[in-house]
């Protein structure tokens, strides 16, 4: 498999297929990660050695999901998303762009090269996984849409299909699900529009056909089954923020120093592992993304 690695993302963040299949070479990569992170201020090296960063199994990734559109239990999405129709699929691109359009999913993704990215995924509920995704850097897509200079944020919307998404019939959250990114976050090379995992078409319970993955943010920022991408000038109100503004913010950057009001964010349980591990600043991607938030009070902008 041909794997493209952007030069500005160290191999500690993106392991290739061989590495995630071969434990020994993986540990070598983990060693680099330890060196990189160890040079920062985090002292907890044994936990940061990242032996933990072995990709989770396909079974774990597709059997334990938070996707309230298909139910609130972790096993619900796998059970209830089977008959969700992802074909035909249209994505509306609108707002402050030169080229607003309704894209057929196939036309939307065709022009771009699909890349492999192995990312940590940290849920706001303090569990985490490591997932080998396939996707397109959102920046590549955005460049084609040609946003206007007045576009400051990108807003994403999940499809509203209560007949196929039983959870949307319940008033657990305001539907449809909405998420947003600041333009520089959206343009960041780590930000991915995901179309597959483990080399397969993205399973329904993981957000097929198109979902967002922003590895340094809590998992709920990774909006699934995207049907609309809007370029706007004001900060969008994302669904969890609307639902509980004191608990979930717009930025939702992984931050071990800022606890959820009800539970700790300092540590996490990696699915498939027995002991808790320390949570890393920006989920271990501080080197790449910390500069985006220079001078910001991360306690206030949680």
């Amino acid at each position: 498999m041909l794997i493209k690695k952007p030069a500005d993302i160290p191999s500690s963040e993106i392991t290739d297929e061989d590495a995630h299949l071969n434990r020994r070479s993986f540990l070598a990569v983990a060693g680099i990660a330890a060196a990189v992170i160890g040079s920062k201020r985090l002292p907890a090296l044994p936990l940061v050695a990242r032996q933990e960063d072995k990709p989770n199994t396909l079974e774990e990734i597709t059997g334990y999901n938070n996707y309230y559109e298909f139910g609130t239990d972790k096993e619900d999405p796998a059970a209830n998303a089977k008959n969700f129709r992802t074909k035909p699929w249209t994505v509306k691109v609108d707002g402050l762009v030169k080229k607003p359009a309704d894209y057929h999913f196939e036309d939307l993704v065709k022009p771009y090269k699909v890349e492999d990215r192995v990312y940590r995924l940290r849920c706001v509920e303090a569990w985490s996984m490591v997932i080998p995704w396939q996707g397109i850097p959102l920046a590549d897509m955005i460049k084609t849409f040609e946003p206007l200079p007045s576009a400051k944020y990108v807003q994403f919307t999940t499809i509203y299909a209560p007949n196929e998404m039983p959870g949307q019939k319940l008033a657990i959250l305001p539907w449809p699900y909405v998420e947003g990114l600041r333009m520089d976050e959206a343009m960041h090379p780590l930000t991915l529009m995901v179309t597959g995992l483990y080399g397969k078409t993205l399973p329904n319970q993981n957000g097929a056909p198109l979902r967002l993955v922003v590895p340094w943010k809590y998992g709920f920022k990774g909006i699934k089954a995207i049907t609309r991408i809007s370029f706007v000038d004001k900060q969008p109100r994302n669904t969890w923020q609307i639902s509980s503004p004191n608990e979930y913010g717009f930025y939702a950057n992984v931050n071990p120093e800022v606890d959820h009001p009800r539970w700790t964010q300092a540590s996490e349980r990696r699915i498939g592992q027995f002991r808790r591990i320390k949570t890393l600043m920006f989920n271990g991607y501080a080197e790449q993304v910390a500069s985006l938030y220079a001078g910001m009070d991360l306690r206030k902008n949680f």
Binding site: N56, E59, E60, G63, Y64, Y68, T72, K74, E75, E125, W127, I172, L173, S243, S244, D259, R262, W263, T264, A266, S267, R269, I271, G272, F274, R275, R276
Partner: protein
């Protein structure tokens, strides 16, 4: 072994079945991708369920004249506490692996952990004083002390409510059940005291 103690033993065995099922599913890898979390959730839920069953004994006994139920109240209460202990040890021993510092931080900083811990601490003296000796020693105070079980029911349910993210349906169901049980006790206590007041006022007139 008397017939009653045999029945009590059977009750304990039945009450332990859910734990055995959880244990078997853990062993068989059927608790999903996050078995530790799932075990915590299941043992916590069974604590609340058994607490509801324990608190239903008296209303059922009085409403239907099922006086034989009274014999099993202590066994049910102790089984409830047993599940609470398993729940707590899962959290302390498996989830946090006895990281005392981190656990202390959790207790003082996060109210859902604090209220869960409080619930266990409320149940502890009730379990200790459940013996015949303590019932005798405490006399009238025993019943007053054991009213704390309703506090534990409320704090335990709040613990559950604060632990969930947005799906508050089941925590609210437990609230409804405990409110009914508490409501029954309050009403029957009022009726009892209004019955008792009359003879007492007669006595004061006589004095």
């Amino acid at each position: 072994m008397t017939a009653t103690s045999l029945k009590k033993a059977t009750l304990v065995v039945v009450a332990v079945v859910p734990l055995a099922v959880i244990g078997w599913r853990f062993y068989d890898n059927k608790l999903g991708a996050n078995p530790i979390r799932e075990t915590e959730i299941q043992t916590g839920l069974w604590t609340l369920r058994l607490l509801a069953i324990t608190l239903s004994v008296t209303p059922f006994r009085k409403s239907f004249g099922w006086n034989f139920l009274a014999k099993y109240r202590r066994t049910l209460g102790l089984t409830t506490f047993f599940y609470a202990c398993i729940h707590l040890s899962m959290w302390a021993g498996v989830d946090w692996f006895f990281a005392w510092g981190d656990m202390w931080h959790e207790i003082v900083k996060h109210k859902y952990i604090l209220i869960g811990m409080t619930t266990w601490l409320i149940m502890l003296p009730l379990a200790i004083t459940s013996t015949k000796g303590w019932v005798r020693r405490l006399g009238k105070d025993w019943a007053r002390l054991h009213r704390l079980v309703y506090v534990a029911a409320v704090t335990g349910t709040i613990h559950y409510l604060w632990a969930v993210k947005k799906d508050t349906f089941f925590p609210l169901v437990y609230f409804a059940v405990f409110s009914l049980l508490l409501g029954y006790r309050v009403i029957s206590a009022r009726q009892k005291s209004s019955r008792e007041i009359r003879p007492r006022s007669d006595a004061s007139v006589a004095a």
